[in-house]
Symmetry: C2
Subunit: 622 residues, 2 copies
């Protein structure tokens, strides 16, 4: 078993595909981690904006989160329908393309690609930030730690979807389980104490009230920030193909479990925070704790359970990046099936995965992590935009879909759900865009059109190539003529002999070209007669032409190129085959000992040549 | 006129060579600057070691420098004879190789290469050090300034030897002229004042005496340090070929002028220092000035002449690196003519220079400057070793040379001069090695054998290639058989048609190979009958064989390689030509849109293939 096999698993045959499909238990960690971990930062994101209102802010947080949960339910129903309607997967991109046209599809594609790359980068760096807060000695190594986690995620994902699910099940259930325990125990305390629970540890006091009234602008910003809690919900719809049969049903059930769990976590955390009088703290405060930490301490104190909960949150956050690894390659494949991205994304690697998508995601994530030195917290506003753009397009697409399915029972009800969802998420998108524009959403607003232009250029290239290459006509056998064979020859040696022998088999029309520099004592003429002409004459074969080109300036390549191009020009309709002897050395460093003119000539012949010039490499093994 | 022509000059024809040869006036700056500038630091290097003796040290400095001058005269006569005996140039390397054998030649070669690279690096950084002492704001940019000077030197040298001479004549004569003025005026003052000249500005007082007696060890170290004054003397002997006819005579005269000037400068500076009671200062002293600066101030005061002199010293020092540019390429050429270095060093570039030697020197010098951050003062001890090793070998070689020239008049006298020189420089070499071993000479002692091993490996490679390639036998025309042509084909399109047409011209024996992956809906079979077989049958030509290889694991390259290698194995004595269609895109980035399997296959065929497998590139221009 090779090292590659140990690291990435043995290669899988195409017929193994069925066995690689996953069930619901593996589907939740693979496609749900990104959505579920939103519970860890979503409520806090909204509560942070209410800090200036002090304790009064708590009155507004439950309504805001409830509004977000209603939106979440709408989006959930919409995606459930999408999964049923498009069991081939592809999510927003497919739905938008098929129903709203290529333009809307590209918009969704660009939004989702940005979303996934940011999910990977932000997830990893969020985990590492939590880790370095706990162990400050690691602070200077955060970028390295981020990159190590990225490499580990890449390797795990290159092993295939089944192994990935197995690896992530425990961290996911630990995360969900410990948060549920906090919520359940907190709720029990609340009711046992008659609505006035006594915290084990008193939470830090709320900040002084500096803003008295909730303005519309503040409400919008709070709502927009809280919407971060909804990212990741579209993941399942992109990955339907990964599930075992009955595919759509299993995917739907996975999505249902994920969304119900997410609703419980989001509402539970928010409601308990209000019940215990917990407000968010300024992140710059010297004794800063996040809301989850304060809440867990209030309910359980600082015992082993506190550390278990915090540890599982940290682990789940950094693994949430994995959802991007599960979806990005599938998305890239769907896009390149329509010729909008390089075709490599369609190829499946040794483990039946779209490996190039994984490489691309790893590359882009690494670039972002390096650019921002592993501190990607500022990127969080960017990626709600991508998610909501995808939500809106997907649901608008579904409306058109139902319009077309005239016979489908309950079509109007489905259409109503999707239309309502499209309008709601569309409005949210505008709100988020306005509220977060200066904070960084403008970057996404620039990147999306940029990506769309790239995809259109790629499409144009492929369309042209297909048009030019397509040949459904039968083989054309007219005008089959021997090529003119050109053999550049510096001196008479064994590789020159090999080339000449090969040339004589290929064609009767041979030109041996010798570029003669004034520096050299003698040309080929000396040996030409005895060594070359004589044996050929004896066999009665046609004698090759010796072309000697003088070169005053010791240039070899240019006169040779000029000669070949002229020859081609003067013999319209004939092919010119250039035989290039090539020394193959035993060790790479030996290449430095031979001049690389042949490589340069090959390159120039490709660049300056045309359809009628063919290069034949005659290798000589040293 | 292109940009290249403006920067490097128009290309020169081989027949222009005569016009590129130089006379004595250009020879002095090109080959003499390194030797002449030794006057600026040689006496000081010796005097620095006598600082602990205080004013008493002055009694010893003139005898030490006199001993060095005697050695210099011996070496001078020796090199004069070498020039006459070897008008083809090559200096120590050629002399040692021809008379003492290849081993001694390699030793000289390694020593000289190290010497030249260090000369370039130390020269440039010495100049920059002087500049940054004068303008401390530039201190943080010293490495950048070093590299800029290196690039300028490279460009000037790439223009050719004649232009280089012209550029350097004025700085050289300014340097020599101002130092001569100092010496002449100082001497006149000395005699006019009856042996007790009155300095215009009183020199700093000598250090307190801490060492009373001159020990043998201190004398040895002083002598070894002063020997730095002799470096660069071998330069002319390496460059004899650059001179116009009568070549040897002009080179000898150039060498004579250089050495006589150097002797005057060295003795003058040393003797006047004693006369004016000037001792060296600790380089770490806060008001440090070098001996030249103190001497010039004592004789002329701090007027414009002082600044002219100091400026010309600075300029000459940084240009002294140029001697390495003049000699290194010629040395590399001589070594690679014996197959000990890559043959590129033999090629002459567009300006009739051994351009690759210039590139190599620039590269190595840049590496050293970057490694040491432009502070290369510590490298000075290293390069006296190289110079003296070359002196000794060259003169020992000349002894053998005279032994063989039995008829030469005055042979015994010549032999005596060279033998005396060899012994003297040999002893000096040992003294320098011992005195400077810990200070850095050990680096040279390690580098020399390392370089020798590299040169021997290169030689072994070339010898093997020559043995294997040499073919003085006539063209062998037996067993001229058509190759088996293999055409990998993924689908039937226009480039496949082009390849097939070319293959049919090449051979009757065609194999169209289709690797069929389970992922793909259909193979080639569908179109094979109608589109390919039918027209061929109609023309009555031989039908190619369709080979379909199933691939469960979606690998394309491996099954194809296996098939080709097996085919070759089963058909001993036949050539196998693999026709590889290659898309040539219009813009480089378009390559990312096509998979690069063909490139990989070409590479694998070269690496795993053998003498009987030939690759034919069929280009298709998009």
């Amino acid at each position: 078993m090779s090292f590659t096999d140990v690291l990435f698993g043995r290669p899988l045959a195409s017929s193994d595909e069925r066995a690689e499909h996953i069930g619901i238990a593996a589907g939740i960690p693979i496609f749900g981690l990104d959505a579920l971990t939103s519970a860890a930062y979503g409520p806090e994101a909204a509560m942070t904006l209410l800090i200036p209102m002090g304790i009064a802010g708590l009155d507004h947080i439950v309504p805001v989160i409830s509004a977000i949960l209603i939106l979440l339910v709408i989006v959930f129903f919409s995606y459930r329908q999408t999964i049923e309607a498009y069991p081939g997967g592809g999510g927003s991109y497919t739905v938008a393309t098929e129903n709203l046209g290529a333009g809307a599809g590209l918009l969704a594609a660009a939004a989702l690609m940005i979303d996934y790359i940011l999910t990977a980068a932000v997830g990893i760096s969020a985990g590492v930030t939590a880790l370095t807060s706990a162990v400050p000695e690691l602070h200077n190594h955060r970028l390295s730690i981020c990159l190590v986690i990225l490499v580990v995620l890449t390797i795990v994902n290159l092993r295939g979807v089944k192994d990935t699910g197995a690896a992530f099940i425990i961290p996911t259930f630990l995360f969900v389980g410990s948060l549920l325990a906090v919520i359940v125990v907190g709720t029990v305390h609340f009711y046992l104490s008659g609505g006035h629970p006594v915290p084990v540890v008193i939470p830090p006091p709320p900040a002084a009230t500096t803003v008295k009234y909730l303005t519309l602008w503040l409400l919008m910003k709070t709502f927009a920030s809280g919407c971060a809690a909804m990212t990741g919900v579209e993941a399942v719809s992109n990955g339907v193909m990964a599930f075992e049969e009955p595919r759509a049903k299993k995917a739907q059930r996975t999505l249902s479990i994920i969304v119900v769990t997410l609703i419980v976590l989001l509402f539970g955390i928010t409601w308990l925070s209000k019940a215990y009088g917990i407000t968010a703290m300024e992140p710059e405060a010297h004794n800063y704790q996040n809301v989850l930490s304060i809440l867990t301490t209030a309910i359980f104190g600082r015992g082993w359970f506190y550390y278990l909960t915090m540890g599982s949150v940290l682990l789940a956050l950094s693994l949430s990046a994995n959802t991007a690894f599960a979806d990005f390659p599938r998305l890239a494949r769907a896009i390149s099936m329509h010729d909008y991205l390089p075709h490599v994304f369609i190829l499946r690697g040794r483990r039946l995965l779209y490996s190039h998508g994984i490489y691309a995601l790893t590359g882009f994530t690494a670039i972002i992590l390096i650019l921002f030195g592993g501190v990607t917290d500022k990127l969080i506003p960017l990626y709600a935009i991508g998610a909501f753009l995808a939500f809106t397009l997907s649901q608008a697409g579904m409306v058109v879909h139902w319009l077309r399915m005239e016979k489908h029972p309950g079509r109007l009800w489905h259409m109503f759900v999707n239309a309502f969802g499209a309008v709601a998420t569309g409005i949210t998108l505008v709100v988020v865009l306005i509220a977060k524009f200066m904070a960084g959403a403008w970057v996404t607003a620039l990147l999306v059109p940029f990506l769309i232009v790239i995809m259109m250029v790629v499409k144009r290239h492929y369309t042209r190539v297909k048009r030019e290459m397509k040949d459904m006509t039968p083989l054309n056998l007219t005008n089959l003529q021997e090529p003119i064979v050109v053999i550049p020859m510096a001196r008479w040696d064994r590789i020159a002999e090999k080339a000449l022998r090969f040339g004589m088999v290929m064609s009767q029309d041979l030109k041996v070209v010798h570029v003669h520099s004034d520096d050299e004592p003698m040309g080929l003429e000396e040996e030409w007669g005895d060594k070359i002409i004589a044996p050929i004459q004896k066999e009665g074969l046609r004698i090759p032409e010796l072309v000697t080109i003088p070169s005053n300036y010791r240039f070899i390549i240019n006169p040779l190129m000029d000669y070949i191009l002229e020859l081609e020009h003067n013999n319209p309709g004939r092919k010119v085959a250039v035989l290039l002897p090539e020394l193959v050395v035993r060790h790479w460093w030996e290449n430095a000992l031979h001049n690389q003119r042949v490589q340069l000539l090959k390159l120039l012949l490709l660049l300056k040549g045309n359809q009628r010039i063919v290069v034949v490499n005659i290798p000589w093994y040293l």
